[in-house]
């Protein structure tokens, strides 16, 4: 019998009791109540349909084909050499935090700068009723009414909790490896990462998603809350090159303080369903948000990029560049909103979304939006769709390149505008190679 999204929902709600029992959490732990509240919200919302404006182009029901359930409590997984190779970024020195099937694995993690930031796994923070954890769980903003956030909150078990104290400059990036290993069931992993960056800090974070099963029987539901203080610089990189046909939902909720700069980078190139929601709230004056995305898709990839940059106070700046390359039967969605709140005068906001469609089967949906409630602003957005410039192709061919290579080279040039924004050299080289590999460009 066909499984529908509604069946998945019902089962998740019905089986919550069993999940709770297995959790063995203290009954007096406030988390219990938080989970129940979240479940209620999820139950009320259900999985989004096409009628949900923010999900118009990503019909979830099409992808939820199995009766997903939270992974069993013992299935912590042991990655082999091949699995581990997928997580490697040559030449990258980093503070590695390793998660397998949603669980922290200390043995595979390596923290180089222990003195500079505080890390603990969410599972133990839950057990200890960590006040910071609880305060963050109680202050989820969710402006988009996204049921996956509440599903995550109800079922979350582990993740990273990172706190960087004031005046700390990290020398090495924090590297979150999120790996899912092949397993027999149809699993849903709900992982939460909580990050707090203090005032006058500098930090880079890389979050890499690897689905070793490469099947659409695995649904990773990640929710990242990032809070940035004043006068800080934070870069956040999301890598999605090893998802195979896996399903991935990611919600980012970022708050940026006064005179701080936040940059986010999404590199997506895989996944039967990838939905990246990036919600950035500029809540301090003279703060900046920079958003970069590159989705280069083929096969039946479906990648939905939802971004909201919320200018909540005067004198803030944002710049967004998301580029799409769509091949074969892929579907690319860009749904980006610039929001300027009443009173947020002197906002400057720019957004650009160019796309190249390489094949007859591919589809693009772009919905750039401006919602402006203050008058002394400069906001622009642009979106384009087209193919490679015939003139350019001809030029390269007249210099001896064959058509396929000329096409690959120009596509790479198109992508490179995003890649070159990456500030970590080892990561940039890694991305260059990945993209070249995908486009079959040879040295």
């Amino acid at each position: 019998m066909m499984i529908t999204a509604n069946d998945v929902k019902s089962k998740l709600i019905e089986n919550f009791n069993v999940f709770e029992l297995n959790l063995q959490e203290d009954e007096s732990n406030p988390i219990a109540e938080i989970r129940k509240e979240a479940l209620k919200k999820f139950a009320a919302m259900g999985f989004p349909t096409r009628r949900h404006e923010e999900w118009k182009y990503t019909p979830v029901s099409k992808f939820l084909k199995y009766d997903f359930e939270p992974r069993t409590f013992t299935d912590h997984g042991a990655p082999d050499e091949e699995d581990l190779a997928d997580a490697g970024i040559p030449g990258l020195r980093a503070n590695v935090l390793f998660f397998v099937n949603g669980h922290y694995q200390a043995a595979r993690s390596k923290i180089l700068e222990e003195d500079k930031f505080e890390f603990r796994d969410i599972a133990s923070a839950i057990n200890d009723e960590d006040p910071y954890l609880l305060s963050r769980l109680n202050s989820v903003i969710d402006r988009e009414k996204d049921p996956f956030i509440w599903l995550n909150q109800a079922y979350m078990r582990d993740g990273a909790m990172i706190r960087i104290k004031d005046h700390v400059k990290l020398q090495y990036p924090i590297y979150l490896v999120n790996m899912e290993l092949p397993s027999k069931g149809n699993y849903l992993d709900n992982v939460r990462h909580l990050i707090r960056v203090g005032d006058h800090c500098e930090a880079s974070i890389i979050s890499n998603y690897i689905n070793r099963s490469g099947e659409d029987r695995n649904l990773g539901n990640y929710f990242i809350q990032l809070e940035i203080g004043d006068h800080s610089h934070v870069d956040f990189y999301t890598l999605q090159y090893e998802l195979g046909k896996g399903l991935h939902i990611g919600n980012h909720e970022v708050q940026v303080g006064t005179k701080s700069t936040f940059s986010t980078f999404f590199f997506s190139s895989d996944g039967r369903l990838v939905r990246n929601v990036s919600n950035i709230i500029l809540r301090g004056e003279h703060s900046e948000g920079h958003m970069y995305g590159l989705y280069s898709l083929d096969g039946n990839d479906h990648c939905d990029n939802r971004t909201v940059i919320d200018h909540a106070v005067p004198n803030s700046f944002s710049n967004e560049l998301y580029k799409g390359i769509l091949d074969e039967n892929s579907v690319g969605v860009f749904n980006g909103k610039i929001m300027v709140r009443p009173g947020a005068q002197k906002t400057n906001a720019y957004q650009h979304n160019p796309n190249i469609i390489l094949s007859r089967g591919a589809t693009l949906h772009a919905k750039p939006q401006l919602e402006i409630f203050a008058d002394d602003v400069k906001c622009t957005h642009g979106a384009t769709s087209g193919q490679l410039d015939e003139e350019h192709l001809f030029y390269l061919r007249s210099r001896g390149l064959d058509a396929a290579n000329a096409k690959a080279l120009l596509t790479y040039a198109f992508a490179y505008e995003v890649v070159e924004k990456v500030k970590i050299p080892a990561l940039r080289e890694f991305l260059e190679k990945r993209i070249q590999g995908k486009l079959l460009i040879h040295d």
Partner: protein, 481 residues
Amino acid sequence: MSKDDKIIHEVAGSEYKYGWVSNIEEDTLAPGLSEETVHFISAKKNEPEWLLEWRLKAYRQWLKMTPPSWQNLKIPPIDFQSISYYSAPKPKKKLDSLDEVDPELLATFEKLGISLEEQKRLTGVAVDAVIDSVSVTTTFKEKLGELGVIFCSMSEAVREHPELVRKYLGRVVPPTDNFYAALNSAVFSDGSFAYIPKGVRCPMELSTYFRINAAGTGQFERTLIVAEEGSYVSYLEGCTAPQRDENQLHAAVVELIALDDAEIKYSTVQNWYPGDKDGVGGVYNFVTKRGICEGRRSKISWTQVETGSAITWKYPSCILKGDDSIGEFYSVALTRNRQQADTGTKMIHIGKNTRSRIISKGISAGQSQNSYRGLVSINKGAENARNYSQCDSLLLGDQCGAHTFPYLDCSNPTAQIEHEATTSKIGEDVLFYCRQRGMDEEEATALIINGFSREVLKKLPMEFAVEAQKLLAISLEGSVG
């Protein structure tokens, strides 16, 4: 309050110029909507059985539908039973010429600035005037008749040209297309019909003036324009309504059909009563306008200047079905006080080498909310389709909102879509420059806004462009002309 603010407040709060009520004797149906209402309207118009059935089918569907909610508008609930669905100026007798038209009615048109007498003698614009729900007079019929051009009220078209009406009515906007279109299909009482035969270039602009006059009525007119192969027509539409405290519903449907090599240019100056500065009263303008470029190399061009209505919900669209066909949308929408507008277009590219162009200029003042919403859809078979969209918004004052919601769907690799949008206010440096040349802020603002809107205004026929420019200035100046 600073001087700037004061001017912006004045600018934002000017009075409505067309807010008088005419003392025309009207024949108005008691409020309420049921199958009987539909029967009544159809009977009143001596309609054939098929049309009554068509209406009833739409009505039954409408009962099952709910008003759309996706738009960026706050629409108070509408009691569809409290609206009167038919109101007509009482005819003293059948009118044979303009001289027999009710003098009060003629005076109404004079006030609107469209003297029919003048029109008739001088300008060469054929006018069909619709007051409340009924077409009152159509000028120039004979002259057009010589060329085979049919231009008459929809009621007359149903009587005189039933085969044409039956063939095309509902072809572009099916009776159940959306909530308001279904309502219109059930209860439309009149409207204009134009048919341009093969190869004819309509020698004059065809024009309809719509006015809601009676209290408590809705206006549900239906316009159908068919341009046969190789023909051309330019059609103008103007709208006003008296100042009333209650809200009035205007739910019209416009359908355009362009066959091979035909061109339809449809221009609107919409100045329905927008409500007062506190948002009391005003027209709800919920309109479905759609054209189909059925034939190859056909072209449909929408131009609109929207300054009126309390709430506007309107997306004049083009279905570009014929290869090499062209769709255009040029729009200026100005909102002030508590007006809300959610307007834009849809360009559906189906045929090969189809092209579309969207130029939208939004101006928000007072506490108004002004949204552009547009869809560009490139279907799989639309080889080499091209679209260019430019949406600019200007904000006057810090209490209004300007929003842009474009949707781009592309399923063809050879298509090229380009969309750009900007939002800003009038630069202080630009204002200062104008003031240094002797203009006060109000005049400078009007001048700058006319400049901002120029690309759209210049698409209007000459007489209309002047009127639209004045309308923008009046809407901004706070001075009654």
